[in-house]
């Protein structure tokens, strides 16, 4: 069996008295595509934000591509270089053009020459289907376009892992599909390791190798998508699914 891409061992985290992550154990193989779902407040976003240390865990170990996340800042920066993240609210840089948003990381973190970074950026814009928006500012784009720019920005770093933190939940309904289509394309063509917090069940069925269901800071259930959606084993998962599917 190949070395795991991501490994969480007995990870615990508290916000003050509130126990957000309880003994999380999770191993993700290279190229595996995982969808994380669960009721709000279940700790799913917190878990994936721990993987690039936007949140710190208080006990346990997290390894990304064999490297442990500790207080060592250099190590954290190295891990972040290999882990792309797409946020619910895009978090594009509003004072930079789309092209500058895309080339910032490659130029300053990966030390690529500008011409090479720009060529790659235009390729990725092509891939997320907005090649003609390169010189606009994020504020001039629609939500769906902004999120696709954000995906392209992460891809420009050539990450080994992509984390998606509810990428479609801040979007107007008619824009959800264009973003999901890009994500599906990415999953099917690139063979990249993906962890995606989302409630888009269609997306999960189509691309996920595994669905993880979290509740109250614990991983309650994990299974192949069809098995999970059609016959959840726990009462909590059944309740959750009945609520989101009506």
């Amino acid at each position: 069996m190949p070395e795991a891409m991501i490994r969480l061992e007995d990870v615990n985290k508290w916000y003050g008295q509130f126990h957000v992550l309880r003994d999380i154990n999770l191993t993700v193989a290279p190229g595996e595509r995982i969808v994380v779902c669960g009721p709000s407040g279940s700790g799913k976003s917190t878990m994936i934000r721990c993987i690039n240390r936007l949140e710190e865990h208080q006990s346990g170990h997290i390894f990304v591509d064999g490297m442990e996340l500790t207080n060592d800042l250099k190590q954290v920066e190295t891990v972040r270089r290999d882990v792309g993240m797409v946020f619910q609210h895009f978090n594009l840089f509003p004072h930079l053009t789309v092209l500058e948003n895309l080339t910032l990381g490659p130029i300053w973190v990966l030390r690529q020459p500008r011409a090479q970074a720009e060529a790659a950026a235009r390729r990725y814009l092509e891939r997320v289907r907005i090649p003609d928006q390169a010189d606009k500012y994020p504020g001039q784009l629609s939500g769906g376009q902004q999120q696709r720019v954000a995906i392209a920005r992460s891809l420009c770093m050539n990450p080994k892992v992509m984390l998606f933190d509810e990428p479609t939940s801040a979007l107007d309904p008619e824009m959800v599909k264009e973003v999901l289509d890009v994500m599906i394309g990415l999953a099917q063509e690139s063979g990249m390791t993906m962890l995606c917090v989302t409630h888009e069940m269609g997306f999960a069925r189509k691309v996920a190798d595994r669905v993880i269901f979290m509740d109250q800071g614990e991983i309650v259930e994990q299974d192949a998508p069809d098995a999970f959606f059609d016959s959840p084993r726990t009462e909590r998962a059944r309740l959750f699914l009945s609520q989101i599917l009506h």
Partner: protein, 365 residues
Amino acid sequence: MPGRAADRPDMAPQAPAMGVAGWCRSRLFSSPLNIVLTLLVTWLLFMTVPALLDWLFLQADFSATTAAQCRAAQGACWAFIAAKHRLILFGVYPYDQQWRPLLAAVILVAVIVCSCMRRFWRPALALLWSAALLAVAVLMWGGVFGLAHVEDSRWGGLPLTLILSTFGIAFAFPLGLLLALGRRSDMPVIKALCVVYIELVRGVPLISLLFMSSVMLPLFLPEGVSIDKLLRAQIAIILFAAAYIAETVRGGLQAIPKGQYEGADSLGLSYWQKMRKIILPQALKVVIPPLVSIFVALFKDTSLVVIIGIFDLTQSAKTALADAHWRGFSSEAYVFIACIYFIFCFSISRYSKALEKRLDTGRRQ
């Protein structure tokens, strides 16, 4: 039953453009209170403006050669400014050498204007600044290239005001940025130092800082060591302005959404890259108006250096008034220097307005 608005002409929406009469009616006489205010303001203008114009221009004497002729005129005596403008502008700098401070002031203003233009925003600008500062120092002090040496205690007037405020802003700004970042730092020692510094300096008036730098500091220095008086005043101004800049910039930093920090972190940018490329450009844009207020205040506050005996623009105007032949023309002198201050301060604020507009990239998030 009331009819719909469109059916009744008196309730139909009024057309916005109705010529002068319409504009007056809607802006000046729209309510009883407005009518009273309009009349009051008109009366005030009527009482003051003609008299002011009279004094400033109509009755003013522009060509008198002696003070006695001037006193005969009813209005302002601009001949006083004509006679004394070099003393006001350049202080007690040796009279025949005054082209040097003039040239220095022109160089300073030229470099500042260049720095304001976006096409000069490149690394070479730093080079230009170094060259300009060197030129200013050579011109003002002299002692080389056949220029006679001039003590800085004889510097004065507008060039001195420009030097104090330019250096004040140029050094206080980066220091203020560092203090603002330090105050938001995770490192407790750095944070505490910055907080203590900012609160201490903000807690005392500039005038007392100047006084301390001039009177107290020499007491602590070992005997024989003395720091130039002008330099001490300059340092006091820098330290003072830095604390205010730090607090203003901190306000800007707090206005930046957490997502921007996370977006930068997720790309693997280091702390300084994140600050330089992502956070500060946005934070500074937010605080341009209050920052400019600080710069304008700093420019005017340089006049406080008079209390430690440095002859800035305000003080050299006072010196000009002390001439026994030209007694009693203080209004003219103060109007003259007020105009100079106004030109500089107004230019700064116009520029900041243009800058704000240009940097607005329409954020929607």
